[in-house]
């Protein structure tokens, strides 16, 4: 017996999304070739854009999909940075190995942290993660071999291990950042297209419904939490390798590593892959525009995020893309009816 021919097929991309993908391709080429046409200032900006992209994707997976609104991601940026310094300076691990290990260490430390903060629900989880980040900051400020409260600089010997000359070092750090930025987006994309992504989307839309169709909510949430911590740790290690200096206040800054990231995701559009990308563009554009106005920059960013959350919670990307059916990273499954007559009313 042969099965009846299907009257529909499942599509994942639309014509508009294929066109838009070409635009993304151009941007990727521009980023890939940046060291050929840009100076070291451009590369530094490029790295910064990449690590905000990665942090925003990680936070979006947490808050946008699993409802784990963390205000404590600076914990893992800081831990990643400090793990990198400890490994490379105190134990002589080669810098690039230390970088990778730092991400793993951050993810590992997220496990006991999750044990504590997962006892708090919803909004209390948010503040609980913040307390934990403060505990890490205050604890590391007491570790004298890592410079205590004032922090420490990366010794020249370690810096030289990355590459002998400054120009080559800039290029290496740039490509590491780019890899991290693009890698995080691709990881989020392939994850969301997989079976696990379906679980994640189900949790985003309704936790109860997700659990009722067999999604293990707690396990999925824990996995996302650990992965977000690992990404943030890698970013942290890279940030402080680039800055060549670390201190508890800079490493565990809620403003730099969490507030900005939250604004990026909210402004761009929470719960999509494109949102954090759009948000990052807006964030850096606003920063360039308001560079001379000090605190007004953060006030504007905060106001924009508040207005968007109240007026258009789907964010700028939602406002632009939804009417056009635009998707850069198609993770949905659409039914396309081959035979119009078979379509149920």
């Amino acid at each position: 017996m042969t099965p009846a021919p299907l009257s529909w097929r499942i599509e994942r991309s639309t014509a508009a999304s294929r066109t838009a993908l070409a635009g993304v391709g151009l941007a990727v080429v521009a980023f890939l070739t940046l060291p050929l046409w840009g100076d070291s200032g451009d590369m530094r900006l490029g790295v910064e854009i990449c690590y905000y992209l990665a942090l925003a994707q990680a936070w979006n997976l947490l808050a946008g999909y699993t409802g784990l609104v963390s205000v404590g991601q600076q914990a893992y940026v800081g831990l990643g940075g400090y793990a990198f310094f400890a490994l490379s300076v105190l134990w002589g691990v080669p810098p690039l190995t230390a970088l990778m290990l730092a991400g793993a260490i951050a993810a590992l430390l997220a496990l006991p942290t999750a044990f504590v903060v997962f006892r708090l629900r919803g909004a209390y989880f948010a503040i609980g993660t913040w307390v934990v980040a403060e505990v890490f900051r205050l604890s590391l400020a007491r570790v004298t071999p890592l410079g205590g409260g004032t922090g420490m600089s990366l010794p020249v010997a370690v810096v030289r291990e990355v590459a002998e000359g400054r120009a080559l070092r800039d290029v290496i750090i740039y490509y590491l950042g780019l890899g991290l930025g693009i890698g995080t987006i691709l990881m989020a994309f392939s994850w969301l297209r997989s079976r696990h992504g379906l679980a994640l989307t189900a949790i985003r839309d309704s936790e109860t419904a997700a659990a009722s169709v067999g999604v293990d909510n707690r396990r999925t949430k824990l996995a996302v939490y650990l992965i977000a911590a690992g990404i943030s740790g890698l970013v942290g290690a890279l940030i402080f390798l680039e800055k060549l200096r670390i201190s508890p206040d800079a490493a565990f800054s809620v403003g730099d590593w969490t507030a900005s990231v939250i604004f990026i995701v909210v402004i761009g559009g929470i719960g999509s892959i494109e949102g954090p990308i759009v948000g990052t563009i807006v964030f850096f554009a606003l920063r360039a525009l308001l560079v001379d106005y000090g605190a007004w920059y953060l006030i504007t960013l905060g106001l924009l995020a508040v207005v968007i959350m109240v007026v258009a919670p789907q964010g700028l990307w939602g406002v632009i893309a939804r009417p056009l059916g635009l998707q850069l990273f198609p993770v949905q499954r659409r039914l396309h009816w081959l035979d119009a007559a078979a379509r149920p009313e």
């Binding site: 808050a63 909004a123 934990v132 007491r142 809620v254 939250i262 909210v266 605190a295 960013l301 905060g302």
Partner: protein, 288 residues
């Protein structure tokens, strides 16, 4: 004797933390809204008092007569104009909007008053102390703060359980939709809850400003203390909040006695321990 003294000072400090926490707890209790800008509103009240004291020459404690109604009005307007729009099934909007407010308030204060640290001068009151025996003395100011915390919490308890407004608060807390069916205007009730919370916040802010130096950046740490006191005490219980504040204050004093650098850390660790051992707090009343 030294340890008794430390615990006593910590208990008095706990009164201030209970004041921080009472407003946060009230807003969460009535409308399940966790106000991330809570600490920054404490600092905002401190600056309000500073401006009033500088303009009128009033004693800082008397400035409360102006700061409290001002913050009450701000609270009502904030809830009615903005925060009511963020409430609903999903906690994300209210959380992110109050987070945005926190950053906005901090940076506006920074623009207006710079990052310099300030203090409200309360004259002789700052250094006055009461002798309790040979080796123990209590500052008059910390004692006043503690007494005010008890008064505020007692009044809050009375309001919640003995007045029509309190009944509306509790009804809305239990089930907002059903409360509406019985003629409760929940938008108005929510606004009154926030107004009342900010009135308490303003008392906390002025007392904080007399007790210690403040600058625009200290808000988030006050939010964390308030939050810790609420969780240690157990959700939804005003007297539990006072106990939570005291546990936190004592933990910080003990930490500071061991090593000044341990003060804040000891408080956070006490909180995490309670969370692990008794996740619902020491005196739980409300189910989340």
């Amino acid at each position: 004797m030294a340890w008794t003294n430390i615990v006593l000072q910590g208990t008095l400090l706990g009164g201030l933390y209970a004041l921080f926490a009472a407003g946060l707890s009230l807003m969460f209790g009535v409308m399940r809204l966790v106000n991330i800008a809570h600490g920054d509103l404490i600092v905002l009240s401190a600056y309000c008092a500073l401006v009033i004291v500088q303009a009128t020459g009033l004693h800082p404690l008397l400035s409360l007569a102006l700061v409290v109604p001002l913050m009450f009005a701000l609270g009502y307007a904030l809830q009615r104009g903005l925060l009511n729009r963020t409430l609903g099934g999903d906690i994300l909007p209210s959380l992110l909007v109050t987070f945005g407010l926190s950053v906005i308030i901090q940076n506006l204060l920074l623009e207006a008053f710079s990052a310099d640290s300030r203090r409200l001068q309360a004259g002789a009151l700052e250094t006055a102390s009461l002798r309790l025996g040979d080796q123990i003395a209590v500052g008059v100011l910390p004692a006043i703060v503690f007494a005010m915390a008890i008064a505020v919490i007692a009044l809050l308890q009375l309001l919640l359980y003995r007045t029509a407004l309190g009944r509306a608060f509790r009804a809305t807390s239990d089930d907002a939709e059903t409360a509406q069916l019985y003629g409760v205007d929940i938008r108005h009730v929510f606004a009154l809850a926030t107004a009342l919370a900010l009135a308490i916040v303003s008392i906390a802010g002025v007392l904080l400003a007399i007790r210690t130096n403040f600058d625009p950046s200290i808000g988030p740490a006050r939010l964390l203390y308030a939050f810790e006191a609420v969780i240690i005490g157990g959700l939804g219980s005003p007297w539990g909040t006072l106990a939570g504040g005291i546990v936190l204050g004592v933990a910080q004093s003990l930490g500071a006695a061991v090593d000044p650098g341990l003060e804040i850390l000891a408080g956070h660790i006490a909180f995490l321990l309670v969370l692990v051992v008794r996740p619902r707090g020491l005196f739980p009343r409300l189910a989340d």
